[in-house]
Amino acid sequence: MSTKHDRAGSHHCRRMAAVFSDYLDRDLREAACRKVDEHLKRCPDCRLYLDTLSRTITLYRGLGGVRVPKNVESRLFATIRLAAAKKKQTKRTIR
């Protein structure tokens, strides 16, 4: 999005944009949140920016988790058993 703000407006927008992440996470104090709301009412560029930021976050949140494939799980458990056996052996040697 290209900004059509004058220099002062642009600077103000950048300051606002720095808190958009917190704004979307509902992690802003009420007063700061009101300031953002007020700014958004007046600034179509920031509304567009916030909208694309929010859509991006929603998209990659949807990536979600990945299941461990069965063969990977089998190798993991084999490794753990090996480590357990080594630990036992070391204990016996120390005794």
Binding site: D25, G65, V68, A84
Partner: protein
């Protein structure tokens, strides 16, 4: 898993009960693997991190004091191993060798067109994630993909809350730009 059950299993595992340890592994392995795969983009590298993480837990069971949740501790271990691997890959070979495999998320929609669109989008997202600096990627994966809270993410990565938020903001902004596929420096306010 409920916290009491987890506590019991940890106590049993500490006293040498391997089966209890394996139950803990089963309950946390997907989160660890998922984080590693999103961070590294390669299933073989993710498997290394998965093994290193649980072996480290096994060897340090006595030292884990339960001041943080087990999941947070495991995320911390896994993120550290993944970041170490990325550093190693940077000097010995490029990261993200198998991007398509890294994006293999189960598809819930049956339409072939939907399937293709979603697949392409997931691939683009995963590729974009892999282009982020590793420190920002770790924050994004834990906070947004794995869904950890802000404090938990900061704790897992041993960052202050403001530092975590700053990386999160930078990472999200970079991803937004990449997804828009534009490089115009005037692209943000």
């Amino acid at each position: 898993m409920n916290p009491d059950k987890e506590k019991d299993l940890l106590a049993a595992a500490r006293s040498g009960d391997r089966r209890s340890f394996e139950q803990l592994v089963r309950s946390h392995q997907s989160h660890v693997y998922s984080l590693a795969l999103r961070m590294l983009g390669d299933p073989a590298d993710a498997e290394d991190v998965l093994q290193e993480t649980f072996i480290a837990l096994y060897q340090n069971l006595g030292r884990f004091q339960e001041r943080s949740r087990l999941s947070t501790y495991l995320y911390r271990l896994a993120a550290n191993f993944a970041l170490m691997k990325l550093r190693h890959l940077r000097t010995h070979g490029g990261p993200g060798r198998d991007l398509a495999a890294a994006a293999e998320i189960p598809d819930l929609r049956p339409s072939p067109l939907e399937h293709a669109v979603r697949r392409e989008l997931r691939d683009r997202l995963q590729q974009a994630l892999l282009r982020l600096p590793p420190d920002e990627r770790a924050v994004l994966v834990l906070r947004d993909v794995e869904g950890l809270g802000g404090r938990e993410t900061a704790q897992a990565l041993k960052l202050s809350l403001p530092a975590m938020k700053s990386r999160l903001h930078r990472g999200r902004e970079a991803l937004r730009r990449m997804m828009l596929d534009r490089t115009d420096p005037e692209d943000s306010p």
